[in-house]
Structure formats: C-alpha cells, structure tokens
Amino acid sequence: MQRLIDRAKELLASGEVARVLGWKKGDLGFNPEPSYFETAESLDNDFVYDGFCGANLSKYMIEASKKDGKTLVFLKPCDTYSFNQLIKEHRVDREKAYIIGVGCKGKLDIEAIKAMGVKGILEVSGADINSDCETLTVKTLYGDKEVSYNDAMLERCHVCKGKEHQICDEVMLDSRDTKDAERFAEIEKIEAMSPMEKFEFFKKELSKCIRCNACRNVCPACSCRKCVFDSNKFDEATKANVDSFEEKMFHIIRAFHVAGRCTDCGECSRVCPQGIPLHLFNRKFIKDIDTFYGEFQAGEDSETKGPLTAFTFDDVEPSIVTERG
C-alpha cells in the first residue's frame, strides 16, 4: 500500500496528475470510501488500499474527465474492462486518466462475513493487499473469529475474468488467481428449472427490490445522464414497488440496456441492499450473446462494435428460444 502512496505522491509532485482517485480509510476498518486526494499529506493520512476496496472506480472517471488535468486512478483488472467500455461510449477521456492497474487478490464482501453469523465486527485483519490473503482475523464485540479469505470474497471474484489489466499506464502489486467457479454455472442451473420454478425463483428475488437504484447508479454501463425510468420519455417513470411487475420491467430493461455493454463487473450484486443476485440478469444476456453471436467480452477493447449494434446475415432467429425447448 505504501508503494501506491509513494507512486501517487511522485506523480502529484511531478505535475503529471492533478489529483488522485483512490480510497480513504473508513471509520470501521472495513468501510473505506472512494475519494479524491490532491495533496501528499492527505495521501499519507487517509489513503488506504485493501481487500475491502472493492468498488469499481471507473465510473467516477466520467466526472473526473471533466476536471482540468489528469486524474490518477487505481483500477483493478476487472475495472479496466469498464473503463474501456466507457471510452468506447465517449463517456471518459483517456487523456484525462493516468491509470495504475492494481493487482488483485480477490475483493471482500463484509456481507459475506456477516452471513457467516459474525456479529459486531470491529476490525478485520489479513485483508491487506500485501498479505497472502488466506485467512482473515475478525475482531468483534463478541470475540475474535477466523474466516477463510476465499469464503469472504465477493461473488464476482469466484468467477473472475482474469487478472490482466485491459488498459493502464502501469501495473503495481501482485495478483492471485481467485477463479474457482464457472461463470455460467448459476445461469445454467436456472435454465434447467421448469418455467414455474424459474418464475417463482425470480418473483421471490425481485419482490425484495426496494427500487433504491443502487444497482443502476453504481453500474458503469448505466451511465445515462437521465435514466428512462426517471424521465417521461416512455411514460415509465416509476419509483414505487407497487407490485412485482414494475421490478421485472425495471430489471429486464436495465439488463437489456446494458446488454453487450455490461462487462460483468458484479457491482450491481455487490451493492444491492437486499442481496438480490442481479448479475443473474446481465450474465444471462452475456451467455446468450456468446452462444448466439460468438464470444464477446465487453471492455476487452475500446473500439469493437457491441453485439447489439452489429449483426450477421445468418443470425439465429428469435424462434431459437422456443425451439431449444
């Protein structure tokens, strides 16, 4: 972590960058927040980088691109896909970013630790990026607990796309392979259900939705200045969770709008206060796109046309959905 601070200070001092977009220590030891740093002192005092720095900072670069001078941003390998995609959509300015690709050993989910029944968490050690990231020691109001790092990781880290940065100016710190599950396994499990089971499954999940829009607002693909669900363009401006339909409409359309653009960064599932596995929507589209139109990973580069703005003459017909049973 000190290396990150030193390098950031160096770049600030040389004038190469005007500010640093990184992480500020939280007040509970596991709730750091994204933050801008403009001075060496603030970096020394507040900067932190550990396993809990899971949020995808690429979306903040939309605003940072409007500022004068370059912003140094720390991106994990998976964040760089989003950054590329944002370049493709002209939402960020590559010239305004100095990207340090940070190695990744898997990011932690405090909710996952709580779900293990750990209560009153005060501190978590072993989450430092420099450590071997095998065991976490959790200090709580009710005694200390040990938790396996892997079990405390975010869902997305178990199906990691890889630890290669797709775009960056330099890479710092080591990575560790965290993939231990198949990306589409969950999707396949649902696909194998009967229509009634599928319907009940999603109904139950979506009935939890409180329309807080956290999934949308955190999503780097949902970068619309004004969402269709906030405008009157479709007469679909809604805030209520009146009955299950609106949630379906919202989540289907949201997934559809990001189809072919979603990099599967997993932020939507991470931030959902109700723990709805929202990635199941986006990943379904990704799986379908891969099957129907050939493998496509949004954000691998910043030029290729997305699958929904391209076509081939002999694409499958929509009836494939019925035919495959």
Partner: protein, 145 residues
C-alpha cells in the same frame, strides 16, 4: 362485451410499414380470416420496436405479442430487421429465463406478398395463446380491474 366466458386473448401485433403491414393488408383484401383478438400497430420498421413496448403490452394486460417485419435481407431500410432480430432473440430468451411461458412472444417475417402467411401466422399465434391461457405472470394487477 362478450357474453360467453370463452377466453378472449388480447394480442398486440407490431407490423413494419413496408412489408408486414402490407402483408396484413393483403390478407385483408384476400379476405383471409384470422381472429379479431389480434390488433395491429403500425411501425416504420421492426427495428422501431422497443423491448419496452412489448413489456408494456404485457404489463397492461396483453396475453401475447407478435412482431412482424420484412424478411431478413429485404428490409426497406436495409438493416433494420437484423438489429430487431438480435434484440428480440435476446429479449425472448430473457423472458423464457424468467419463467414466462414460451410462445407468448413471437417474431415472424412476412413480406408484402405473403397475405396467406400473415393470416396463417396469426391463426397459429392466437391458437397458441389460447392454449397458454391468460397472461398472469407479466401483467400488472392494477390493470386487471
């Protein structure tokens, strides 16, 4: 309005102006019957059909939605139906994944010369929707009263 209790599905058909709407006109001028449950909305091209329109129809109580456009390769705007094809394939696949009955949605390419195909398609589709029964999984309850 209907006196008996027979299920009368509400079916929305989006037809592109250049081929399918004309195909429907031809079905009409050839007096090829299909059930009155089908109501056609004219759009310039199948690529004008937003998935939101389809969901909206279901929300408001439609039991089936069908989209018709020019045959691939014959689009008046050259490429519109290719985009529409991808969009609808993905949307339908998602609906199926969410447990919505297969067959409530359909895409059919109907040229201006295919009055017969238009009518056969509509007959088939209405039969299918009748066999599936009322759409209860996608509607908004508030629209039911």
């Amino acid at each position: 309005m209907s006196m008996n209790n027979e299920f009368k599905p509400k079916i929305v058909a989006f037809c592109c102006n250049w081929c399918s709407y004309a195909g429907a006109d031809l079905a009409g001028s050839s007096r090829l019957q299909y059930p009155a449950d089908v109501k056609i909305i004219r759009v310039p091209c199948s690529c004008r059909v937003n998935p939101m329109f389809i969901l909206r129809a279901f929300e408001k109580g439609a039991d089936g939605v069908i989209m018709c456009g020019c045959h691939p390769g014959d689009c008046h705007y050259s490429t519109g139906n290719y985009y529409a094809r991808r969009r609808m394939t993905l949307l339908f696949s998602m609906l199926e994944y969410l447990g919505i009955e297969n067959g409530r949605t359909r895409v059919e390419w109907v040229s201006a010369a295919e009055g017969v195909k238009f009518s056969t398609t509509m007959n088939e589709f209405v039969d299918k929707i009748r066999s599936l029964g009322e759409n209860v999984r996608l509607g908004d309850l508030r629209c039911k009263d």
